[in-house]
Amino acid sequence: MNIVVCVKYVPDATAEQKFEADNTVDRVNVDGLLSELDEYAVEQSLQLKEKTEGAEVTALCIGPEKAADAIRKALQMGADKGVHVSDEAIAGSDAAATSKILAEAVKKIGGVDLVVCGMASTDGGMSVVPAMLAERLGLPQVTFASVIENQGKEFRIRRDGDVATEIIGATAPLVLSVTDQSGEARYPSFKGIMAAKKKPVETWSLADLGVDAGEVGLANAWTAVEQTTARPPRSAGEIVTDEGGSGAAALVDFLAAKKFI
C-alpha cells in the first residue's frame, strides 16, 4: 500500500501570530513546526504501514525552505521518504491552489492508494483542503475519522458526529482525514531521529509538477483578504475571591445586572 501523508508547516500557535503587510500569514519571522493536527495523520499512516506488508509512507509538504522541518519530523516518526514542493511562486496560495499543487504532487508520486490528512491546519483552519484534493483527484473522501480499520483496500472508519456516530465505508484509492481523537502521536525515538537523516527527500518545483505559476500564489488566489485587524485586548474584568459564599453572590449579581437571569 502506497500512503501519502500531507503535512503542513505552521507558525507555532503558542507564539505570537501576525500578518504581513500583504495580509498573508507571517511564516518567516515566527518559529514554525509540523502542525499538531497533522501528527495524528502521520501516526495513523504509520499504524497502517505497520500492519500492511510492503506499505510505504511518503510525507508530502508544500512550503518554503524552512518547511522541510515538518517533513523531517514525519521521517523521524517513521515515514519512509519525503517530498517537498517549494517554489517562490507558491507564497500566499489559497486552499484551491494548495489542493491543485497537492493533487499534482500525488499524481507525480504515482500509484497512491491513500492520501491521509489532518482534520484542519492549526493556522488557516478551513478544513477544506482534503475535500478539494479529493475533488481534484476524482476520489472519495472519508473525513474526520476517529477509528480506521481496513481489510486490504476496503476501509471502514468511525466518525463521531454531533447527531450520530457513523461507520463509513469506502474502497481505496481515497482521501482520508483523521481527528485528534484517533490516538496519540508517537514521539520520535533516538533511533528514528538518526535513521531520518538517511531517508530520501525530493524537492520539486512547480515546473516539475507541470503547474503554471499563474495558477497559484497570492496574486492568483480566488479570494482576497481586504484587511486584517488585531482584536482589541479584552480589558481585564472584575476578579473576586470566594469567601463564605461571596463568589456565588458576585456571580448571581453579575448575571442579574447583565439581564441573563
Partner: protein, 320 residues
Amino acid sequence: MTEILVLVDHVDGAVRKPAYELLAIAKRLGSPAAVFIGAPDKADAAVAALTKFGADKVYVVDDAPIKGYLVAPKAEVLQQIAAQAQPGAILITSSAEGKEIAGRLAIKLDSGLITDAVDVQADGGAPVTTQSVFAGNFTVNAKVTKGTPIITVKPNAAAPEEAAGAGVRADVAATVSDSARLAQIVAAQPRTSSGRPELTEAAIVVSGGRGTGGNFDPVNALADALGAAVGASRAAVDSGWVPHTYQVGQTGKTVSPQLYIAAGISGAIQHRAGMQTSKTIIAINKDEEAPLFELVDLGVVGDLHTVLPAATEAINQRKG
C-alpha cells in the same frame, strides 16, 4: 434580482435555525433561493417554513438516490442548480459537512471559497465577509475574486428574519454520478439528545474542565438553570468525563455565545481559540493564576464545587 443560493441545513426535513440565518444574509445580497435536499414527503413543510423566513424560491431535490453517500453528491446537485440559476453567491452553513460540500463545489465551479464567516455584508452587490482568526486575536475581511462566491457561515452570524418571501417551489431532478457515490454510511448510531441547546447555537454555554475532577453535576445543573448548553475543555474530554462533541477549542467547537461560563478551566490557547469571541466571559477557578482570568468580565477565585451549586440555587430561587 440575482438569486442567492442557500443550502438548507435540516434534520429529517425539520429546518434548523442556521438555515434561517442564511436566508437573512442572502436577502442583503439578492433574492434568497433555498435548496432543500431531502425526503419528498417533508418538502411541503420545509417550503412553507423557508418561505416564512424570506425564501423567494425553494429548489426541492429528492434525496432518495444520494442518502447516505456523504458530501460528493450534494456538491454535484448544487453545481447543477448553480449552472441553471447563475447565482450571485452560494451560502452554506459552516459545519464539517457544509465546509466539505463547499470545498468540492468551489473546485467544480472554479470559484473562490471563504469559510467560517461570522458576518457577510453587501459591498456594491459583492459579499464581503468577516472571519475571526488566530484564536480570535485577529479579524479578517475578505472577498471572493473568482467565479461565484461560495461562503460558509457560522451559526449565530445573523438573526433570522420572519418576513415572507415569494416562496416559488421548483422541483429539480438532479443527476448524480456513480463516482460521487463511492463513500457510504454503512451504519449509524444516533446520539441520545441531552435536551439542551446545540453547543454552537446556544446563547449561553457553561463549560467544565480539569477542575471538575470528573464530576460534571455542578456544571450541568448551572447550565440547566440558565437554559444553557454544556461544553468542556480538551482535558475533560481526554479524561473521558464527557464525549468529544462537548469539546470547545481548536479541535472541537468554536462558540461565540452571549455568555460563556468556564468552570475549572485554566484557559490554554487550545481552549481560548474556541471561545475567545464570546460576548461576555465568566471564569470560576481555584487557581488565581489561571490564564483565562485575563479574558474575563468576571472572575471568581474559588472552588467550582461550592460556587456553582450555590449560584444555581440562588438562580432557581429567583425564578421561583
